[in-house]
Symmetry: C2
Subunit: 339 residues, 2 copies
DNA sequence: GTGAAAGCGCTAACAG
DNA sequence: CTGTTAGCGCTTTCAC
């Protein structure tokens, strides 16, 4: 016993129900919906109207099985304690989710820590996604390799060491060069310090290149005891800061917002006035640096847009179009901390 | 032409392949894997071994279709600019992802902003998930209602206004009472200020109750011009702070970490010494408060565990077991900012 | 204890 | 332009 007009039982109405209600076949209705194949304008409209009335919703799982597509994309985000609270990934993720939603896709979380790729492996082997977005590429490109081996399309947010990978990146190099150059106007090269995180993260490589390149244009080189890279643990951090302060820097650049927050706390504690005693700038902004007083000069990269564009590119690829590399612009925001 | 031993074409090996290789039927192999139905120990072992050798991976989509289960849970997270960078949700999310992975589930992101439930609606109507976790319940319980109407199981992280909902919460009320009581030992009730966010968030209601209750036990009531709730925009914030400072508070409690960060910046700017001039505490911790100098007294709730437990409870429910309400403990960390 | 066969709800040839 | 039919890969009655 089927009811065609209303839906008193709470059974989900399915393709067959609307076909029956219209005296059509399932395939015709299917075509009307997808727009594929030949179909008369009239029937398409009839079908669409009926679908609305009956409140028909296709069963995505059945669709998935027959199309061999999940309409899901995986998003790899770091779960290491170091990055677990970094705002970048969260903002990036919401950008991805938003774009996916528009295209009727969904985003599945894939956590990775250190070199543990088990979650990625599981998701890929279970075929839970049609493609993957890597939000923090590492220089060993282990994730890219795994994905290639499994024939899984992917896009990388940032720079990939793997040749031919589709990447969506912010222009870190130019941005960091510009910020550094700006600082070089009123600070002597040998008085500018740098504190930066894990150099296995390709983003830090890009940033360092920009930093170095700005020095090169004024015919200088970063001094070895002014530059501290690979700083991750609190211990490494405090060692780096005290070593750096001994050199009496006039200006300190932080590799990212998390490092900058820590530096600000430290300088505040030492009663160092910003910018009077030491100027501070950051290669990556976040709400905390903006709210800080004095507000902190930094580069602004739009994490949400980065996410949205990468999702968009990936889905284009899944639809058979070729993905393209995208480089997003940056904005340099001079704020009080360097004035 | 099928190859049973190796897999030179990169076609995925499927149930039928291992059945053929063993001279069994698909159903037997299926039973061996699931453990359901009667099956001899011997064949089960033969099957398991063969599966390992052939590297068989079940197609989760096909499994989904026949079981009418997706093995996905949806996670609702806020995308409002106000909360988009709050570390809580990110940490919570990774806790969920980790627990899901263990149980062979995956987590799908559902973004919500303001009262826009369209993403939630889409995911639910598309049946992309078996259940949903709400990470920030609102007092209008619109999300819970939507889920109920669609017969979708869910668990709420925090307190739900909907009767009968399964909740996993931190003990905010007791925690905030304890922190407030501690502060009441060395500060006069009328000298303690409070700045708190949106009171539509049930978590803020719980926290306020604890705050009020501590006052009650010393026979006092929070003074109206010492308490500022519903603070969200930067403008509201600065108004609240200046109004509060006029009352010359000895101690200020912040409703959460984001508010506390802003307050610290403001006080730092005003050259207010912490804790000498004003003591500061927060109802929620985050890495920034820990790194701040002086470190900030605050309550510690384990966001990762909250996520993991809620995922665990939800999946239990999906497996037909009854979910239970869980209340997680807190930790009060007295740090330098109130000494 | 095991096998055969009928679904799960949709898409995509292939006919007409 | 539309209908018929055969899958997609797994689970699950129902026989044996």
């Amino acid at each position: 016993m089927k009811t065609t007009t209303v839906n008193p039982g709470n059974k989900k109405v399915q393709l067959e129900d609307v076909a029956l209600a219209l005296g059509l076949s399932k395939s015709t209705v299917s075509r009307a919906i997808s727009g594929k194949g030949r179909i008369s304008t009239e029937t398409r409209e009839r079908v669409n109207e009926c679908i609305r009335e009956m409140n028909y919703r296709p069963n995505m799982i059945a669709k998935s099985l027959s199309e061999s597509r999940t309409y899901n994309v995986g998003v790899v985000i770091p779960m290491d304690s170091n990055d677990a609270e970094a705002p970048f990934f969260q903002t990036c993720l919401t950008g991805i989710a938003r774009e996916c939603a528009v295209r009727n896709y969904d985003a599945i979380i894939i956590g990775t820590e250190k070199d543990d790729l088990s979650q990625l492996k599981r998701v890929v082997e279970n075929r839970k996604v049609d493609g993957v977005i890597i939000t923090r590429p590492l220089s060993d490109n282990s994730m890219e390799t795994l994905l290639c081996e499994n024939g899984m399309p992917f896009v990388v947010i940032g720079r990939s060491m793997l040749n031919g990978a589709i990447t969506v990146d912010s222009n870190h190099k130019d941005g960091c060069r510009e910020l550094t150059s700006y600082l070089l106007i009123s600070n002597q090269p040998e008085k500018i310090g740098l504190i930066m995180g894990n150099m296995d993260h390709t983003v830090n490589k890009s940033r360092y290149e920009g930093f170095e390149s700005a020095f090169a244009t004024v015919g200088a080189k970063p001094a070895i005891d002014m530059v501290y890279t690979g700083i991750e643990s609190p211990l490494q951090f405090s060692k780096a800061v005290s070593a750096l302060l001994k050199q009496e820097p006039r200006c300190i650049i932080c590799g990212d917002d998390m490092i900058c927050m820590k530096l600000l706390a430290e300088l505040n504690n030492l009663l160092t006035a910003i910018p009077e005693d030491i100027r501070v700038a950051s290669f990556y902004d976040s709400v905390h640096l903006d709210n800080y007083i004095p507000s902190v000069t930094s580069l602004i990269f739009d994490a949400g847009k980065l996410g949205a564009v990468s999702a968009s590119e990936l889905i284009e690829m899944l639809d058979g179009n070729s993905g393209k590399n995208v480089m997003l612009d940056f904005q340099l925001l001079i704020r009080k901390s360097t004035m």
